[in-house]
Every structure is written in structure tokens, then in C-alpha cells.
Amino acid sequence: MTLTAPAGGIPAPPATPIVQTTGLRKTYGLGGPNPVEVLHGVDLEAYAGEFVALIGQSGSGKSTLLNILGALDTPTSGRVLIDGVDIEKLDSNGLAELRGQKIGFVFQFHYLLDEFTCLENALMPVTIRKGAPDPADTDYAKRLLARVGLESQLNKRPGQMSGGQQQRNAIVRALVNKPKLVLADEPTGNLDSRSGAEVFALMREIAHETGVAFIMVTHDDRLARAADRALRIEDGLMHDAQLGVG
């Protein structure tokens, strides 16, 4: 696998961002008795090969933002461009296709399918998109699984793997379709600090190796500091995070 990171460690941003939002607003309970606006106009850009950490208080709207970026949810107003496509213009099938081709998700819980093995789970997005993976896909999935240290777990069910292994399996699944954007919502939140750190390191390395734009929500300032860039959501707005060293 090739690294896209230049010598400086931080890749130079390409001309067009993979994901770009302008004036993003999200109101819950719209039309109800007490609507709550969670996002008050978020502007955000993320570029290929960039690893961005997203921090903020609990309830500040991190998951809300991530779901919108991942075309799982729609904003109340504002624009979301994913790889140049305005998601507002897509119907539910178009959104599903966009998710399948351009986006990978990692959640706090692995959400692997119990009925399938490690390799089958890793290949699930390809299976959904094509019906069945072809040898090249299987080959790629195996290489990614080997990259995260799961080469000996290919035929295990999720229930037979450790929490860290499950989450690494889920990371491979998020990458197997060669997406442009990977969104991770507290992917280490459910792991102990050791395997959490391992999983984080892997994600960051793979993000750089594969050149995806990687946005990770975390509560852990140490992890956020290790990202290429850290953003903080506060009062429904996006700020560059000021993280003290150490």
C-alpha cells in the first residue's frame, strides 16, 4: 500500500474538498410544540487524506452533524456537498447509492452482522452494491484485514472476536468499497484505552495510506490532538479546537 502523506506528515489540501457544508442548520421537533435547533449554521470542509477529529460536549450535535455528512439524515437548511454532489438533490435510492459508493461508517458499536463471518462482514458493502464480491474485492478485503491484524480471524463470527477485533473488522468494512469519506462516531468509545489507542492509530494510518477524508468524533482530547486537525462544536457552531499540548 502506498502512502499519500508527503514528507511533512500533513498532506497539502487538494483544490476541492471531499465534503463541504455551508450554513448547515438542523432543527429537531420542527412543527412540534418546542423545536430545538441543534446546529446553527455549520461550515465545514474536509479534504482527501485528511484525518479530522470532531470534539464537543455531549449533546452538542456531533452525531447529528455526522449523520448529515453521511447522507443518513437531511439538514433543515444549508448545503452539503459530498464529492461535489449536493445531497439535497438525491432521492432515497440516490442517497443509498451515495452512501454505498462514497461513504464508510464506523460507529461506537461495531454493528457487525452476527450471521456472517469476519470476511463476509468486511465485504458486506460490496455484497450490497454488486450482489456478490468478485475475487479482486475479496483480495482487497483480505489485505485490509491483514493490515488491521485480523488475517487469522477471517472465518470467525463477531461473537467469537474481542471488542477491539470487532471494531477493526468494522473499520475494514467501512473502507472496503474504497470510499472518499469515512465517518466514525466515537469508534473507540466502547473500548478500553489500550485497544482504543491501537484502533485509533490504525484508522489514522489507513486514512493517510488510502487517501480518504476521515472525520472522527471523540471525547478523548489526546486522540483529538493526534489528528491532522481538530474541530469543536460549541453552541451549534464549528470552531477550530484549541487543544493545549500534553
Binding site: N67, L72, S92, R99, G100, Y111, T127, I128
Partner: protein, 418 residues
Amino acid sequence: MRFEAKLAYRHLVSGGGQTLLTVAAVAIAVTVIIFINTLITGVQQRILKDLLGQLAHINIKAPNPAPKTLSDVMSKTEAPSGNAPFFSTDRQKQVQQRNDIENWQATEKNLAQFPGVRVVASAVRGNAFLIAGSKRLGITVSGADPISEEKIVGLQANMIAGNWLGIGPEDVVIGWRLAEEAGVQLGDRVRLESSQGVSAIYRVAGIFDTGNNNVDLSQAFMTLRSAQSLFAMKQDVSVIQLKLNDPFQANIISDQIVATMPYKVDSWMREQAFIVNAFQSQDSTRLMICAFALLASAFGIASVLIVSVIQKSKQIGILKSMGAKDRQILIVFTLEGLGIALVGCLLGCLIGYGLLKLLEGIPQAARFGKVDKLFTIIYDPAIFGGACAAAIIATLLASWLPAQRAARMNPVDVIRGG
């Protein structure tokens, strides 16, 4: 499709008890439908065979002349009332009022042209006494060409002694109960005395057992010529009998015949209306049982699938986040319904077949060395196929709602749930 089929298959396999429960629900419904329908069809066929085996589907007679008063009829009857227990005034009336069909050969040809008519056979029918020793028994005598009459009454298979096809002008064939009652055996001679007062001696050339008490006790058969002379009828016949391809067309066809011929046409369905009514209520009973079996199984399957969809809501959400479309999720759960239906049908057919085989093995009490089966079982592919088709449709309908629910699930809601 391969993704949907694979996921549906894995769901079913890992579903374990839930899957077994739904498959069992389909299997039981299919078994019940096959069993009930085969049994009732068998019973009806048996009744039809026993009843219609000796009966024409349609009888054509010359119309009755103007009715006569009872006293008029009584005065002309010479039958000694003491020995004739079953003499009804109606029967006397028929006996007394001769209404023969002349030129019956031409009428037979006409009748054979009607669509749905399988057999046409003319006969002389009349009442007579069988006299053996001191016994004097009232019977109905049919005289016809044995070859064509056989196609109406199917006697040959029921002969327990002697012969029916190929009898001569001196011969008579009677039922075993009549033989027993009269105390006569094969080869014995009996005297028959017709209501026209003609009397002659006949040889008992055959004894039959139709299983129908009435027929076995009171019917006798002879050649057309013999009966024509016994009843003093010259060349005429008294009835033209028809067998149809479908006995249940009897009313329709008899109405068509009435419209074209100046005869009295009787359909077995009107004469034996109670049988037809019994069949109809059997049919509605079986329909109800089948409908309830399907309904119960469909509700069972729907509730199990709804639970399974709710259990899998996280998985459905994650699949959608990976690009699965609503339609794909819909197909997954519909395929699960289809899989359940197909396995359930296969199982139901096997169980149904096995049960019927068991039932078929039960023998009926033997009579005259003929061992009969208690149940008439016909393995009708239409019943098996119909049961499966009904179960598949019911199961697909039952899985429709859960599948819709799964397809409409919003991934954000379920993933947020944690």
C-alpha cells in the same frame, strides 16, 4: 438478488426456533388442507360411486298421463296388500299408467349428441314380485342389453357369484340380500310375476353385492327382450338412462334435454337432493377449515416476522448506512417469507402424504372375501398443489407488512438507539 437471498437465508438459518415455528405453521396449514380435502373428496367420491355406480345420472321417461285418483288406482291393483310391505300409491300409479317410449332408438341417437353425455342406454323398468317357495317379495326389474346397461350400473365388478354380462333370456341377476331373503342360490329357479300379470320362471344366473342395501335387496336385472315380455311392452322401453362426463352437470344437461324433447327428464341431483346438499355443506365446512388454517398460520408468521424485524432493526439501519436500498430490504424479508413458505409446503406435503398413507392402510370389515379400504384416498396433485399455492400466498401476504416495516425503517433512528 444474491445479497438479498444470502441475507434471507442466513436470517432463517440463524433464526433457529423462530424459523422452525413459522415453517411448522405453514406445514400444519398445508397438512390440514391436504388432509381435509383429500378425505372429503374421497368420501364424496365414494358416496358418488356407491350411489351413482348403480344410478343413471339422468333418466328420461315418457310424461305421466293425467293423474288418477287414489281410489281409482286402488281398485285396479290386484296385489295382495298383506305381502307387499313397500307398496306406495306413487309406485302403483307408475305401474298402472303405462307410458312407454316408442321409437327409442332415434331418441337415443339424439341424446348421444348432447355435449357431456357419456353413455346412453335404454331399459324396461317395472315392478314385479319374486316368488320363491312361500315368499313373495316386491322388486324392481330392469331389462336391458347387458353390455350397455353395464355402462350405467357397473354390475360386473360387484358380482359375487355367477355372471351378468352374457346372460340369456331365461336368466335373472339379483342382489345378495334378495337372494338371502328369498332363500335362493345361484342356479336356483325363481318365478317373477309382473304388475301386468305376466309370470315366468327364471334361473338365478348371478348374485351381486353393490354395497347399497336398497339395490341389493330390491333390484333384479335381465335382458331387454325378457323384460319386454314380462311387462308386456312389445318393442318399447320405459326409460332411457344417461351417464354424464361430470355427474354435477346433471341439472344443466337435463334442462337442455327438456327444452328439446317432449319427455319427463329427471336429474339424479334433483332426485337425490339431500346428497347434493350434504356435499355442499361438506364443501363449505372444508372451505372454512382451510381458511382458518391459513389465517392462523398467516397470523402466526406475521407476528413472528414482525418480532424478528424489530430485533433486526439495528442491522437494517446499518445495512442502509452501507448503501442498502429500501427495495433490497423489502426483498430480503419477502424472500424469508417465501423460504418459510416453500420449506413449510414441502414438509406439509410430506406429512400430509404420510398421514393419508396411514389412513389408506386401514381396512374395512371384509364381506364375501372382498377386502375394501375404509377410506378412499386419491392422491390428487391439484389438492397438493392448491394447498401449497394457498399457503405460499398466505405466507407472502403475512410477510408483506413486516417487510414493509423493515424497508421503511429510518437508519438514523435505529443507529442512535445505541
